[in-house]
Structure formats: structure tokens, C-alpha cells
């Protein structure tokens, strides 16, 4: 089976094909003769496509996929990412031909069911977030943020105000300040207090007549709920600024409270985190954005609306910021999220947040003795430990993360948020069993012991993976990101010599 560790280009043999066509019953033509010379590529320019049989292709990619770590093959406590189980029924529903075989250019009368689903999803998400209207267009959390900020800009401009500053706490996800600057704002960072929460006094110092909005993640990336949330909202509103809620961590508050109830004007959700649509690997996501009534005129168009008994696309919103994504967002993903919401129901979603919070606190308690724990209060969906104690013994968080691979776990998020030294950010999610969490805690505790008694095993980890410790220095300094035949041939020669 070694052959399937090779690149698809290495398996390739000239002339091998993965299809068979019936004998042609028309005369074949020589394209070289028929096409203008400048359109014909010579050997050098020809696309170097691999030539393999269907079975080789299937084995190659199956072998690759087996080397992957995903939710379906193991625990994945990657903090800030909500790597929870995606129920298979979502896939069944998304594959129904009425959803999978339609085209956005079809006549609206022929796709009423799809529009109804989108409309209902908008309605459900509005209830879940406490907002008045939703746009499903943004295709990720970051794009939802940007869409929200473009609406912030349009709103202030319409009122004849020029406000250029967006406030972001230092514990925010990196996309927050990034989205603000892509939307043309200056950002000001608000430091956290010793409890990891927004420092109200600092916030007051920064809020002024140039403040366009505050972007707040709640619970924040430390997994902590902002206890002064109403006061924070008041400070910003009193100064004429808007409140943007990064709802990517909604898994912790589903069915318990809403950004609307906390006084926020705009929110985005990450359907690929909270609403069980596939996540990671660069696949399509969805970051719907919701707004309170005052901001409805600025929502992206076309909007999906109900007109009597039918569903229509309406672009008649002159103040809209326009379209932010082709067609109606990532439709297949929206179908999966809607399926999740309908199969869970309101009560089920409420249990989700209870489970997520209970699990995080259970793990936190089990690990607290063995690692520094900079924030001791009850957490929401995730918590952050520090590897500072192990650092003193000459072992770093990155080493411990590599060692976790030997136990078959995806490591937690590391070195984030930036305000925690040697941070380990752990989010178990509600879909894991107690047994899984206990086994993970046992592994973490064993690693902490190894650091004290037998650090070599941690420093040289991983030992059981397909490849061992990678040379990250080389990878960072001299990355080779493209395969070329020449380079490969050279590499083989070098290996033979060595």
C-alpha cells in the first residue's frame, strides 16, 4: 500500500485513464491542424495532469482522507472553533434533489420551496438572536463582520455623521480588528481587566463622538461572559455609537439570552460553528448577519421576502449596502443549518448551551490543578489554561500540543488569546461524552506528569503519527508550496546519493 503515500503525480503513468468511452462513430480530427497555431500549447506549456485509473484515484484520496483528523474520527477541542458533531441528517436533507439540483437562475416560481426554507431560516435566526431582520448572504463570520461594519458606516453617513473609530477589546478574535480596517475604520484596542473582561473605565476613556461602534464577542474568547454587558451597551449608545455583537460563540447562550436583549444593534452568527454545518478545511461557511429595525434599510440586497403566499426577491432598498455574495449565500450550508434548528427545536437548542457550558466547566475543574489557570471564575463554552508552569521546566505549550497527537486527539487552540502566556484554549462542545472528556483529561494530566518526570518524551513528540516532528523552522523560512517534476526528480536523486 506504500504506493498510496505517493503524490498523485508520482502514481501517474503516461496514457493511463480512468474512463472508457464507446468507439467514436464520427471521423476524428487532428486538433493540431484545425486550431490556430497560437492556441496550441507545446510540451513545455501543456498542463501536467496526472494519468491514473479510477481505482488508483479512489485509493489515493481515501488514503489521504484517512490521515486527516476530523470530528468523525476523534475529539477535537479546538478552542474558539466549536468543533462539534454535525448530524448526518443535515447531509441527507441537503442532498434532496429539490435542494441539490436547483439553480439560482431558475424562475422563482420553480424554486419556491428553497426560498421558503431561506425565509424561515431568516425568521428563526431573528428569534435566536433577538434581532428584527437577517441577511443570509455573508459566507463566513469575518464576512458577516465586514457586512455589519459597512452597515454601521452607511447608518452614520445617512445621519450626516462622520465616525471613524471602531473599538475592539484585546481579547477579540483577530477577524474583528481586521474586518474593521477592511471596512475603512481605525481601530482602538480596549484592554481587559484582571478578570479577563472589558475594563469599563478604559472603555469610557475611549468612547467619544468619533466612535462608530464597539465590536464585542460575548462570551469572549476566554470563554467568559461580560458581566457588565448592559452598562457597556449604555456607554456606547449614549455616545451615539452602535453595538456590534460577534455571535460566533453563540453556542454558549443559545436559548438563554440574545444579543438583542443585551441591547446590541447588529450581530453575526457562524453557522459552521453553532449550527452544525461542516467546518474547517476551507469549505463553504455561512455568517448571517442580523440587525435591529433602524438598520434594516442598509441590509444587503436582494432580500428574500414573503408576498402573500409566495416568496420573492426584493432589491428595492435604495440605502442598502448592496450585494455581498453571489446568489443567496452558501445555500447548501443554509439547508443544513435549518435542518439542525428544526430537528433540535427551541428546547433542544437550549440544552445545547447547557451542555456546552457544563462540559467546559467539568474539564476546567479536572485540569485546573495541573496547569496554571489564569481565570478562575465559572466559564461558558470554553476556557483557557496557561503552560507557564511547564515553561519553567523547559517544555512549551507547543510541545504538549504535539504530545497530545500521540493520544489521538486534536490539540486545543494554542498561543491564543494573546493576553495569556503559553495559552491552551479548550472547547469540548456539548456533543462529547463524559468518557471522552475524562480520557482527554487523563491524557493532559499524564502529559503534565511527563513534563516533570520524563520531559524528553514530550519534547520529541509526536511519536505515533504518520510523520514525526516537522521542521517548522524550515517550513516557515523556506516553504515549498508547489510541486514541480524537476524538483521532485532532484529530491529523489539526492535521497539516493545520501
Amino acid at each position: 500500500m506504500v504506493e498510496y503515500n505517493d503524490l498523485i503525480f508520482e502514481i501517474s503513468r503516461p496514457g493511463r485513464v480512468g474512463y472508457s468511452l464507446p468507439k467514436s462513430d464520427v471521423e476524428s480530427v487532428d486538433l493540431q491542424e484545425k486550431l490556430p497555431k497560437h492556441l496550441i500549447r507545446d510540451e513545455e506549456e501543456a498542463a501536467d495532469l496526472p494519468e491514473v485509473s479510477e481505482l488508483q484515484l479512489v485509493r489515493h484520496y481515501t488514503a489521504l482522507s484517512n490521515k486527516n483528523h476530523g470530528i468523525d474520527n476523534g475529539f477535537y477541542p479546538l478552542g474558539s472553533c466549536t468543533m462539534k458533531y454535525n448530524p448526518k441528517i443535515n447531509e441527507d436533507i441537503a442532498r434532496l434533489p429539490g435542494f441539490s439540483r436547483i439553480h439560482p437562475y431558475q424562475q422563482a416560481e420553480t424554486t419556491q420551496g428553497a426560498f421558503e426554507l431561506l425565509y424561515n431560516l431568516q425568521e428563526e435566526l431573528a428569534v435566536i438572536t433577538g434581532m428584527d431582520a437577517i441577511s443570509l448572504q455573508p459566507s463566513a463570520g469575518a464576512q458577516g463582520e465586514w457586512t455589519g461594519l459597512m452597515m454601521v458606516r452607511a447608518y452614520h453617513e445617512q445621519k450626516g455623521e462622520s465616525r471613524n473609530k471602531v473599538l475592539v477589546p484585546d481579547s477579540a478574535h483577530g477577524t474583528n480588528p481586521a474586518s474593521a480596517s477592511v471596512a475603512g475604520f481605525d481601530t482602538a484596542t480596549i484592554p481587559s481587566d484582571e478578570n479577563g473582561l472589558v475594563d469599563l473605565e478604559e472603555l469610557k476613556k475611549h468612547v467619544d463622538s468619533d466612535t462608530a461602534a464597539l465590536m464585542l464577542t460575548n462570551p469572549n474568547t476566554l470563554g467568559l461572559f461580560e458581566t457588565e454587558i448592559e452598562e457597556i451597551a449604555k456607554v456606547v449608545h449614549d455616545a451615539g455609537g452602535l453595538l456590534y455583537y460577534d455571535g460566533a460563540n453563540a453556542n454558549a447562550i443559545l436559548g438563554k439570552t440574545t444579543p438583542g436583549a443585551m441591547g446590541f444593534d447588529i450581530v453575526h452568527l457562524n453557522l459552521h460553528k453553532t449550527f452544525t454545518t461542516p467546518h474547517g478545511g476551507g469549505g463553504p461557511g455561512a455568517g448571517p448577519v442580523g440587525v435591529k429595525e433602524d438598520l434594516i434599510p442598509y441590509l444587503p440586497v436582494p432580500r428574500i421576502e414573503k408576498d402573500g403566499e409566495s416568496y420573492v426577491l426584493n432589491s428595492d432598498y435604495p440605502l442598502s449596502i448592496g450585494r455581498v455574495k453571489g446568489y443567496h449565500g452558501n445555500f447548501g450550508i443554509l439547508v443544513r443549518a435549518y435542518t439542525y434548528i428544526r430537528t433540535m427545536g427551541a428546547e433542544g437548542l437550549s440544552e445545547v448551551s447547557e451542555g456546552a457550558v457544563l462540559h467546559a466547566n467539568y474539564l476546567r475543574k479536572r485540569l485546573e490543578e495541573h496547569f496554571e489557570s489564569p481565570y478562575k471564575q465559572l466559564c461558558k463554552h470554553e476556557f483557557v489554561l496557561s503552560g507557564s508552569r511547564q515553561k519553567k521546566l523547559g517544555v512549551r505549550t507547543l510541545d504538549m500540543a504535539k504530545r497530545l497527537l500521540d493520544f489521538g486527539y486534536h490539540p486545543p487552540t494554542i498561543y491564543f488569546p494573546l493576553n495569556v502566556e503559553e495559552g491552551l484554549m479548550i472547547e469540548p462542545t456539548e456533543t462529547e461524552s463524559k468518557e471522552t472528556m475524562d480520557a482527554f483529561a487523563d491524557a493532559m494530566i499524564q502529559i503534565a506528569k511527563e513534563v516533570e518526570e520524563n520531559p524528553g518524551i514530550v519534547l520529541e513528540a509526536p511519536h505515533t503519527t504518520v510523520v514525526g516532528r516537522l521542521d517548522e523552522v524550515q517550513a516557515a523560512r523556506k516553504p515549498i508550496v508547489r510541486y514541480t517534476k524537476e524538483k521532485d526528480a532532484q529530491k529523489k536523486k539526492d535521497t539516493v546519493k545520501a
Binding site: S80, G174, A178, K392, L393, G394, Y415, F416, V473, R477
Partner: protein, 103 residues
């Protein structure tokens, strides 16, 4: 790997005139920022020895480097100092598909 650490004159001056607490030594330390891809920044700090430190002597000064940091350092590393930025160590790098600060 044979590590060569050199100090500029200003760095050496500063080190020789800095008061260091007992039991503490100058250390080249890798500071990592992560989230999606990692970036490594080297700093000069003063702290206690760690178990697997290497110690490099330079003009009578002992500089500590832990095993982790050593892996990431270039073979030749220079330490410089200026009043605005403090100590500057070697070449820092980011390995990231989404290289902003972190995320």
C-alpha cells in the same frame, strides 16, 4: 547545531550595566503568537534557569537558551540594543496562511 550568538556593542554595554536579580540570567526566549499559524518572535528576558537550558558565554556573560527556543534560532544570532525598542534578537518569523497579527 552549533549556535553562534554575537552581541553588538550597544547590546553588550546595556547588558553589562543592567542590574540582574540573583538567580536570574539573560535569556533568549521564543515568544509565540498563535491561533492560525504561528509566529515566533525572539526576545531577551531576565529569568531563572530552566531544566534543559543551553548556556552560551559571550564576553563573560552567560546567556541561557531553552531547548525549544534553540530549535527555532538561526545558527548565527545577533543581539542588538537601542533605547526605543530595547533588545532586538535575531530574525523573527511567521508561519501562517492568514498572517495578520495572529489571528
Amino acid at each position: 547545531m552549533n549556535l553562534v550568538v554575537t552581541l553588538t556593542e550597544s547590546a553588550l554595554d546595556k547588558l553589562k550595566t543592567t542590574e540582574i536579580k540573583e538567580e536570574q540570567y539573560p535569556r533568549i526566549d521564543a515568544d509565540i503568537a498563535g491561533g492560525c499559524g504561528i509566529s515566533v518572535k525572539f526576545t531577551l528576558v531576565f529569568d531563572e534557569p530552566r531544566r534543559n537550558d543551553s548556556v552560551i558565554e559571550y564576553d563573560g556573560i552567560q546567556i541561557h537558551i531553552d531547548l525549544f527556543t534553540k530549535r527555532y534560532l538561526d545558527e548565527e544570532t545577533q543581539i542588538d540594543y537601542n533605547d526605543e525598542q530595547g533588545f532586538l534578537v535575531g530574525e523573527s518569523f511567521a508561519s501562517s496562511a492568514c498572517a495578520i497579527e495572529l489571528h
